[in-house]
């Protein structure tokens, strides 16, 4: 290639490399990261920190779901279950090991990863060979089974009451390490930073996954399965790989979630509402975008913290009308309607719609020579 004029492909690549660190997307990510790091120092409110920690965890969980649903085009109703498997791994190990130590956390993380990988391989190897619909049905059945197991295996999981536990050493909620620049350093804060670090690493991993050769093939498979097969790609393997990867990340998110709450019960980490929340978040953020997970999680989690206010409003507006109050209590109903409307009329979500705009601009630049 020496001595030759660069091809348009090479020129475009150079252009992209040059603007790598000045792209708006990159700058936004940097700013977001800075906010997450500095947040607890600047705004020492537990309510905000709680919200942000949950948003981070769910952003990653939703992004990992997007790998399966948006990139691979298969629907897994077991994503919430994997989340729960991770959460229960942490909860049970921390609960049953006395005294709890740091290596128990590591062990719990490894266990979560191992269990979810094995379960995901078994489920997908069984049902992905057949048809995407089958996979949806099998995962739904298995997830519901795990939910029931959470209730009924009470000698281990303590059933409906759930498992509460203490985290080791500096992560323990009671631990306190004085203050730094006016901010209390305590166990909660350190767990927050642990979540931040792990969530960022997982998210980078997810983004990297979709940009890797595998991510590209997944897109191709979703676009035209037959052609991908004829090109020599074994579709089944790619589907299994992506399902296992997404499920594994989900279980790690569940582990983080359990650490944040120091408590798990079947309904919060294994139940259908969790799965529906993840679905809603992924749809709102935009399927097949990964970054949409952040927006979707933020939107829903923020809305959830506002909804109790809505209830109070309903209470004060119609103090006598029992029906209205029941309606306000059932805010999942509102989410459900929002969800259906988004699937029907806003299928690309926020990030997807923005990306379409960017694509139009790109084509205007490169489309017609």
């Amino acid at each position: 290639m020496t001595g030759q004029a660069p091809t348009p492909v090479q020129m475009e690549r150079q252009r992209q490399r040059a603007r790598r660190y000045t792209r708006p997307g990159f700058l936004i990510q940097l700013a977001l990261l800075a906010c997450l790091v500095a947040g607890p120092m600047l705004m020492p409110s537990f309510r905000v920190m709680d919200l942000v920690a949950k948003i981070m965890i769910f952003a990653v969980a939703v992004a990992s779901f997007d790998i399966i649903l948006g990139y691979t085009g298969i629907i897994s109703f077991a994503h919430g279950m994997f989340f729960g498997l991770g959460a229960y791994s942490v909860a049970l190990i921390c609960h049953y090991s006395q005294p709890v130590q740091y290596h128990h956390l590591l062990l719990a993380g490894l266990l979560a990863a191992l269990i979810s990988a094995v379960v995901a391989v078994v489920i997908s190897a069984l049902s992905l060979r057949v048809k995407a619909i089958f996979f949806a049905m099998v995962t739904l059945a298995v997830a519901e089974f795990c939910h029931i197991l959470g209730y009924q295996w009470s000698s281990l999981t303590k059933g409906e009451d759930g498992v509460s536990f203490k985290l080791p050493g500096v992560f323990n909620a009671d631990w306190s390490g004085g203050s730094l620049w006016g901010t209390q350093i305590n166990g909660r804060l350190l767990v927050y930073y642990l979540i931040l670090v792990v969530a960022v690493l997982l998210f980078v991993g997810l983004v990297r996954f979709v940009r890797s050769p595998v991510g590209r093939v997944l897109k191709a498979i979703r676009d035209n399965e037959q052609r991908a097969t004829a090109l020599g790609y074994r579709v089944f393997r790619y589907r299994v790989l992506s399902t296992v990867f997404g499920s594994l990340v989900s279980s790690l998110c569940g582990a983080l979630f359990a650490m944040w709450l120091s408590y798990v019960n079947p309904d919060t980490v294994l139940g259908t509402p969790l799965m529906l929340n993840i679905l809603l978040m992924v749809i709102i953020g935009g399927l097949g975008t990964v970054y949409g997970g952040i927006l979707g999680a933020a939107f829903i989690k923020i809305a959830e913290t506002w909804l109790p206010d809505l209830q109070k409003l309903a209470l004060s507006l119609w103090p006598k009308v029992e029906f209205m109050q029941r309606l306000a209590e059932r805010w999942i109903l509102l989410f459900g309607i929002l969800y259906i409307l988004s699937v029907l009329f806003f299928p690309k979500g926020v990030v997807g719609t923005l990306r379409d705009r960017a694509e139009v601009r790109r084509l205007r630049r490169l489309g017609r020579p």
């Binding site: 057949v130 619909i133 949806a136 679905l279 999942i332």
Partner: protein, 270 residues
């Protein structure tokens, strides 16, 4: 008909609640808990009829407003019927209550027969008879009538059937309604049988329905029938031995069947 409807469980629950409402209303007339055999039969029939109607109406609504927009797109079908199922269950909670309700059962249907020392719950007999009748009916329609042929052909290729002059949209709406209505009837029978209903009963039974269909193979009524028998037998047998593992046993059966026949017992490849 190649639509994966996860709202089926919700129809089931709606049917149960409709039946429950009717029985409650009729009890006000003194028909249910104290009435004669005739009044008892009539009130159960009315309950089932109400379930049938509500299932049909909900099915019509769902098909026309939502599902028609997503024919041919399995992913969206799954996503959207999942949402619809959640909304329907929530509406139940708004209209009735989030808690369990006790269903009033007509006097004449409580108790059991004692046939040669085997105790058979009376309503169970009714349920079996109705179930067999529905199976026979569906089989007859699908295999023997022109309508059945049109439906099966329509699933394979909409356009061709359309050009033959049949309004496939309307037929599909009808099939969907029928399915919803049958689910609702099933729900109301379940409610009377169990004497208890909850808004979540749809989800719980959807799992069984899914396992049944997976085992039986999609698109095969006989397969579903076989699947249901296996699931029911296994469930009760294991429930008798180790109650907590009953559902697990069914999942295990499903896994084994998928291993041996990935398309289900009676499912056809592709």
């Amino acid at each position: 008909m190649d639509v994966l409807n996860l709202a089926h469980g919700a129809f089931f629950a709606w049917g149960a609640y409709a039946g429950f409402a009717v029985l409650n209303a009729l009890n006000g007339l003194g028909w249910v808990e104290t009435g004669t055999l005739g009044q008892g039969i009539l009130s159960v029939l009315l309950a089932l009829l109400a379930a049938l109607a509500i299932g049909g109406v909900l099915g019509l609504f769902l098909e026309r407003v939502i599902i028609q927009r997503v024919y041919g797109d399995h992913l969206k079908q799954i996503l959207i019927t999942m949402g619809a199922s959640m909304v329907l269950a929530e509406v139940i909670k708004v209209l009735w209550s989030p808690n369990n309700q006790t269903v009033l059962v007509p006097l004449s249907f409580t108790g059991s027969y004692d046939v040669m020392d085997v105790v058979i719950n009376k309503f169970r007999v009714v349920a079996i008879v109705v179930g067999l009748a529905v199976y026979a009916g569906v089989m007859a329609v699908m295999q023997k009538t022109k309508l059945g042929i049109i439906i099966r052909a329509g699933v394979e290729n909409r356009e061709v059937v359309q050009t033959l002059g049949y309004n496939i949209n309307r037929i599909f709406t009808g099939v969907f309604m029928a399915g919803a209505a049958l689910a609702a009837v099933g729900g109301s029978m379940w409610g009377i049988f169990r004497e208890q209903i909850t808004p979540a009963m749809g989800d719980e039974n959807l799992i069984f329905a899914l396992i049944v269909v997976i085992i039986g193979g999609m698109g095969s009524v006989t397969g579903s029938f076989l699947g249901a028998c296996m699931v029911g037998l296994a469930f009760n047998y294991v429930a008798y031995l180790v109650p907590k593992l009953a559902l697990g046993a069914n999942i295990l059966i499903m896994v084994i069947i998928l291993l041996i026949k990935p398309w289900g017992l009676m499912g056809r490849e592709q």
